[in-house]
Symmetry: D2
């Protein structure tokens, strides 16, 4: 964790805390710097699929929030973002002590921001890449935050 208390990080944190789904999933905000935000959660039964692994789409949710916050960190205060599409590839079952989503901005333009996210599982301190994620976000003038 390396969250500092700059204005950007406060904005990211305030936004993150208003996301009901992230709270429900038990997601925590990790490091947050310009264009890169990390979220993590501990696997639990409320976000499982039928065999007790974390539901694949919960990785999608964690990754989507991580990249939306990454994109938001590069926006001026009067611009918000919304996700227009994402795709996710599942490389391995989601289990372990912790699931980590490392979002980052690949390119930001006037309207579109392109992001990628690696999703990893951590077990006994060892990380394993479990999902690849790419998303496109759209900037909206005169609106703060992450829009639905």
């Amino acid at each position: 964790m390396s969250v500092d208390d700059s204005e950007i990080v406060q904005r990211i944190r305030a936004n993150f805390e208003r996301q009901g789904l992230m709270r429900t999933m038990g997601a925590k905000l990790g490091s947050a710097v310009l264009g890169q935000v990390e979220l993590a959660l501990t696997p639990h039964a409320e976000i499982s699929q039928q065999n007790g692994f974390v539901h694949g789409s919960a990785l999608g949710a964690l990754a989507e929030s991580a990249v939306a916050l990454s994109a938001l960190s590069l926006m001026p205060p009067d611009r918000g973002v919304f996700t227009t599409e994402y795709n996710i590839n599942f490389l391995a079952p989601a289990q372990g002590d912790r699931i980590i989503a490392r979002g980052k901005v690949a390119k930001t333009g006037r309207t579109l921001t392109f992001c990628q996210c690696e999703v990893l599982s951590e077990r006994d301190g060892q990380e394993q890449l479990i999902a690849l994620f790419t998303a496109t976000l759209v900037a909206v003038e005169g609106r703060d935050g992450i829009l639905g």
Copy 2:
């Protein structure tokens, strides 16, 4: 709702009820026939993004479960499926009285099953298309159900 009690539907239902994330999201199993399964939920704060709309990735979760169950409905009892990738495009904010995911199998082969899902919002009985979703699933021999 047009759930009948055939063996297939019982298998779908049993599988659905073991998915913790679907329970957490308040998802309900709607119609289920061979190769087509419908899930629905009522928007609520636990699955929201910051503005109170349903979190986009919750639509991804609902759609993923709908197509995985659709694929499972075409498998013999000793074969399970897992989702290897999906992509989702968000056409409109997710709000309204109800969110519906209509999953269907586009093609099933020996190893791969290709699925699509339309996600709709319903307000005052009117449906609106809010997301397009495509997924690839992989069949696994000797394993029942939806794997993580």
Copy 3:
């Protein structure tokens, strides 16, 4: 084929004929109506992969052009479009007498247009679905046509 000579279709045709890659691939403009454009080609060695089938990515190219023209058909004369992302799923090898891409607009908004395309092979008059395709296009003010 049901190409009529309206202003829209002329615009579509003029745009299509300037696309070098479509000419190289031997693509032909089929039916074109508001929001729906069909392109087709006859398999040949210049667009093959190593076994003589049509290269999968040539289906992607045909589909991308079909949806871009579909989106363009709904734009006023001073607006152009560019494709910001697409994804394609390959359901069966691309062979047969003819390959057909049926593009259509799923939803158009002020900035974004969402499109889908079915790619089919035709053999002895029988059609088979061989690829699913989804794309997002962006409208650009003050620019005509399909931008790179």
Copy 4:
């Protein structure tokens, strides 16, 4: 260019040379090592879209071949691969002196291989990232090469 003459590279080269579409596009095989293959081409009118830029889907074609060859480089001689899906995000127009696709394998398993590719344009020796690409490939027993 760092092509050595090992058995793997010969296999990659032989496969690449049988791909009609790559020849048509003027693609050249660059460096090829285990799990990583680079292809490149010089922009020309036969692969353009209407404004003279390289057609976006030609980037998709170059990237698909780059990742398929990357996956093939990790297969034993009696296994082939085919691409089951890919998605591509376009970050900037495709122009410049040269277009380069750098494919690599993110993870390979018994059935599925996950790949990524960065597509770059080069102008006056400066590289710019112009597209992000992700693909899933399927291994096939008893078949050599890249299947359609």
